[in-house]
């Protein structure tokens, strides 16, 4: 048995933090025209994240390293739970097949929105790595193969990957709730968009939608789960054949116009 994985301090902390987070429950805060939802998953992430702050000395680095495979294992319950929602709704999913497959191309939205911003901020080749995709594991692997990870492009993709790991779930959870309450985008469409990133991002953003639209909760969970599975399967190919070439092309067009003279550093 691998002792590091069974470290009682990790599991007891997770148990206590889960109990505390569920006890606090869902809180809604109205911000201007929108609603921001604070879910137990967000409290759980923030509390245990705060416990890893070095100065507190509560968790050691080795415990932080051991927690990574624990995420991969514990998330399987969420995966299975969503699968048993998809089953009874399978006809709805098949009917929505075209939307589910094509929304994968929505990933390209990041290039048009984020690449100009990155160039205006003074990023150079880092921008290509950073903005070609939502930077999950397959995308990091792709950039690593094409440019290596210690290249500027590699730094860019790693940057977004780390920010996504740290704050992606928090941000996506709040953003999904906000869009749902301020735009006329249908909850089904938002549910499909919830699946674009990591499993945690999907849990946070579809969680907000479930809380806002309780009478559509099965469809929302089913669409989010199906979309996440399709993203995991096809995201890499969209990156290789469409997103990365498109980012390179747009970079060549925009960099002379928007880029600053000198590279950052």
């Amino acid at each position: 048995m691998n002792k590091a994985l069974l470290d009682p301090k990790i599991h007891i902390t997770v148990l206590l933090v889960t109990v505390l987070s569920e006890y606090i429950g869902i809180k809604r805060i109205t911000v201007g025209p929108g609603v921001m939802l604070f879910l137990p998953i967000l409290y759980a992430l923030v509390i245990t994240g705060a416990l890893t702050i070095k100065r507190l000395g509560f968790f050691k680095r080795e415990q932080s390293v051991a927690a990574s495979p624990l995420i991969t294992l514990s998330i399987l319950f969420l995966v299975a739970r969503i699968a048993v929602i998809i089953g009874p709704n399978i006809m709805t999913i098949i009917a929505a097949g075209p939307a589910l497959l094509l929304q994968e191309l929505g990933n390209l939205g990041t290039i048009f929105l984020a690449l100009p911003v990155a160039l205006l901020l003074g990023l150079k080749r880092e921008a290509v790595g950073a903005t070609h995709s939502i930077a999950r594991e397959p995308n990091v692997a792709l950039i690593s193969e094409d440019y290596t990870l210690d290249s500027p492009e590699g730094l860019g993709v790693l940057g977004v990957y780390v920010i996504g790991t740290l704050f992606g779930a928090i941000f996506m959870g709040l953003f999904a709730g906000f869009l749902a309450s301020t735009t006329s985008l249908h909850p089904y469409a938002l549910a499909m968009a919830s699946g674009v990133g990591s499993g945690s991002m999907m849990a946070a953003s579809s969680g907000s939608l479930l809380a806002l639209f309780p009478d559509m909760k099965d469809q929302i969970a089913a669409f989010a789960g199906a979309s996440n599975l399709i993203s995991t399967g096809s995201g890499l190919y969209v990156s290789i054949f469409v997103a990365l070439p498109l980012t390179e092309w747009l970079y060549k067009k925009l960099e002379p116009v928007l880029g600053r003279k000198k590279s950052v550093e």
């Binding site: 889960t18 998809i86 094509l102 903005t131 920010i163």
Partner: protein
């Protein structure tokens, strides 16, 4: 880190217990009422992990777990109603809370990398997340509308 099959099983039992307790605190479901659903989910996961080990294609275990979970709950499967009813007691969000608690602990090691990146990458990341989410939601919305589903 090397994770053996036994390690996975023990960790999943621990996660299952934490989920049952969270499901009681957050959603007022009696622990004993959560047990059958969690056992079904556990068996679906085990079958998926076993398939990953047996079938030589390089497919992640979540793909098999999802496939099996779907197959045993489509209305045509003889025990589907029993499985859907039992697992229905497990609140979806209750299965996610412990995951994010583990994720928080894992963050410690990434904080150091983040400090080296600076604030610009934070701003760019926010636009990356917004761009992807909005792009995907808009396409999905338009196509669902065209199909007349919404």
């Amino acid at each position: 880190m090397k994770v053996s099959f036994m390690d996975s099983v023990v960790v999943m039992i621990i996660s299952g217990v934490i989920i049952a307790i969270g499901n009681m605190v957050g959603y007022k479901v009696d622990i004993m009422a959560s047990v059958p659903g969690l056992v079904y989910l556990f068996l679906i996961i085990l079958a998926g992990v076993a398939m990953t080990k047996i079938i030589p294609w390089k497919v992640p275990s979540i793909a098999y777990i999802t496939l099996i979970g779907i197959l045993v709950t489509i209305p045509a499967f003889p025990y589907s109603k029993m499985i859907v009813d039992a697992t229905g007691k497990i609140n979806l969000l209750a299965t996610a809370t412990p995951v994010l608690a583990y994720a928080g602990i894992a963050l410690g090691k990434d904080m150091e990398t983040l400090k080296k990146m600076g604030w610009k990458i934070v701003v760019v990341s926010i636009f990356v997340f917004m761009g992807t989410f909005i792009g995907s939601a808009v396409i999905a919305h338009l196509i669902l509308k065209m199909q007349g589903i919404i």
